[in-house]
């Protein structure tokens, strides 16, 4: 009868979860009970046999065979994993895409009226019939002069760039332009101009 109770303790002992009091009880009992002693021994042997079951190894090409059965990554997945692996290029591509978009939009949204941007509007002479903006001889324009949908004829002085979009810049012999004079007619030139402007805005230029 006591042995039945001890059987529970034996299992607690094997689980390593027996408390000190129960452990002493079990040890005392086993000193006198050969049957419980044997019971424990047989259990320990059974465990040892199972533990010593030699550890077998899987065939060497196992990993390769698992991979052969994996679903092949789809084109989309491969593309998205490429994007994940190249965050900088991805950011650059997105930036370029948006930039091109907005620049193109600027180009296509233009209208055909003559537009002038200058800080010295009063000094300019505008010839509406010929669609020409004239910087008269002897006048000085501070800063850039940008004209859209018309030509620019410079006879005086411009302390900045002269740009004609969809038009021409004509420099008279008396003209003096501190910056550059350029005519922009094609969309690619327009894009280039915009990109250059970004560069100019970003890089501090000291006079």
């Amino acid at each position: 009868m006591e042995c039945r109770e001890m059987s529970v303790l034996i299992h607690e002992f094997l689980d390593g979860e027996i408390d000190e009091l129960s452990n002493q009880k079990l040890q005392t009992h086993m000193r006198t009970c050969a049957s419980c002693r044997q019971h424990l021994q047989e259990l320990q042997r059974a465990i040892a046999f199972v533990q010593s079951a030699s550890h077998i190894q899987v065939s060497p090409d196992f990993t390769a065979r698992v991979f052969a059965q994996l679903p092949t990554p789809t084109r989309k997945k491969r593309f998205s994993s490429w994007l994940r692996n190249h965050p900088f290029l991805t950011a650059a591509a997105v930036f370029l895409f948006l930039m091109t978009g907005s620049t193109m939009a600027n180009w296509y949204e233009r209208d055909n009226t003559l537009q002038i941007a200058s800080s010295n509007m009063d000094k300019l002479k505008i010839d509406r019939t010929r669609n020409v903006v004239v910087v008269p001889a002897g006048t000085t324009i501070d800063g850039d002069l940008v004209v859209r949908n018309g030509n620019v004829e410079v006879q005086g002085e411009v302390r900045g760039n002269v740009v004609a979009i969809e038009g021409k810049v004509v420099l008279a012999s008396t003209a003096h332009v501190a910056g550059s004079a350029e005519s922009i007619e094609a969309i690619f030139e327009w894009i280039w101009y915009e990109v250059k402007n970004i560069g100019n805005d970003l890089l501090p230029v000291f006079p």
Partner: protein, 187 residues
């Protein structure tokens, strides 16, 4: 080790195949061992191990990183083994096998001198006897005995794997030990 594994599972989750290959390298023998002891032959065991990794791959996105990866993969493998056994043959009943063993023999006395059983030479015959003793356990006992004594996992880990309380695991281990003892006592 756990940190490395965590990194690997995170990478594998993002679709990194190299990381997945490394996880296979870490676990293939453990999973194969479990499957082999469950089903008793190499071919079926390799099939189960392969299926385990394919399921891991397919379900990586559902893997909860707050649990150990080993718990998750052992659970998948154990379930596959038990499902396969269910299809193949009826289970043996364990519940009437447990009986208090009587009778002395000299072998059990001799064995008390055995210091480290793991070092002793394991013969082919012993291998087969152990496998046979395991195969006579019902799968729900067999899987737990294998996880405990061949995979060397703690009661808590086993409880996490099979999603049963530790007390249930203990009961099964006690019964499993008695069943193995009655099969292996005359070895």
């Amino acid at each position: 080790m756990d940190f490395v594994e965590k990194r690997l599972t995170q990478r594998a989750k993002r679709g990194d195949r190299e990381a997945f290959a490394e996880l296979i390298e870490i676990y293939k023998d453990k999973i194969f061992q479990l499957a082999y002891r469950m089903v008793g032959n190499r071919q079926d065991a390799e099939d189960i191990a392969q299926e385990t990794f394919l399921r891991v791959y397919a379900n990586l996105h559902t893997y909860d990183e707050s649990y150990k990866f080993s718990t998750w993969i052992y659970r998948i493998a154990t379930n596959l083994c038990i499902d396969r056994g269910r299809k193949k043959r009826p289970d043996f009943s364990l519940d009437e096998e447990v009986e208090p063993g009587q009778g002395m023999d000299w072998y059990s006395r001799l064995s008390s001198n055995e210091k480290n059983p793991a070092d002793s030479l394991v013969t082919q015959e012993l291998q087969e006897t152990v496998q046979d003793a395991l195969s006579h356990l019902a799968p729900k006992y067999r899987s737990i005995m294998i996880l405990r004594y061949i995979e060397d996992l703690s009661l808590q880990e086993i409880s996490d794997i099979v999603k049963l309380p530790v007390t249930t695991i203990k009961t099964r281990i006690h019964r499993g030990r008695e069943a193995l003892r009655s099969k292996l006592r005359f070895m």
